[in-house]
Symmetry: C2
Subunit: 116 residues, 2 copies
DNA sequence: CTACTATATAAGTAAATAGTTATATGTTAA
DNA sequence: TTAACATATAACTATTTACTTATATAGTAG
């Protein structure tokens, strides 16, 4: 097998616990394909805005995700500089792409008004 | 990238949640190197016997681990036939080997009396 | 059969988690 | 400056989780 950079076991467990939630795992799967803001996630999850914000907060606190404000919106994306990015990537290679959800986001296009 | 068999997202989340516990992740790391019975795990975890049995139960219920009784002892090992085995393997490739704990188990050798 | 060992299960508890509603903050646009 | 929108945060609640102790089950050895 190819050499594999290791991550401390306890840290790895924390990352796995974070990804061990259906909503967060889906968020990460979507972020692999495109950055998103909260209102876009709202289109594809059957939950409230605070709930999504709280999930994103956890992912951000762990360093897995970063945010960037653009006007009214805050865009979330995967943090490729994160020490766990390699682990996350290999995990996600076992998870189906969230094509349907991404299509819904792109069609609903809630941020169309900002023109970006 | 090499073709990667996918696992339903919700099932993957369940597996990740299971591995997202420090004790269970360590158990799986140890089981990658050798089968173990509960009393062996007891040597390396700072917790009670029921606690370990309960973790093993969860791993077994998910199909990740199988058990085999040999006399008084029940030996646990990774279930390579499990549909999630590939996922587990790749995850574990990012986790350090539990050499120290395995050494402790082999030196204490609580099942020495059975001669196996 | 009895004592002993290994393990499982049951029942209870404290802490963590994911959701809720209400409200605060920050940005834009009229 | 006010209204509207996007998001975060606070406070609360219900559920889940991981542990504990006590007890049951199963095998072995005398």
């Amino acid at each position: 097998m190819v050499f594999q950079a290791k991550v401390e076991l306890e840290k790895a467990a924390n990352v796995l616990k974070l990804l061990g939630d259906k909503t967060r795992l889906t968020i990460v799967a979507i972020l692999q394909k495109r950055e998103c803001c909260v209102c876009e996630f709202l289109e594809v999850f059957d939950t409230s805005q605070p709930s999504i914000s709280q999930h994103l907060r956890k992912l951000k606190d762990a360093g897995l995700v970063k945010e960037e404000r653009r006007g009214q919106w805050i865009y979330y994306s995967l943090n490729q500089q994160c020490e766990f990015y390699g682990l996350v990537e290999t995990i996600m290679s076992h998870v189906p792409e969230q094509i349907d959800k991404i299509k819904i986001i792109e069609q609903s296009n809630p941020t169309v008004r900002c023109g970006c």
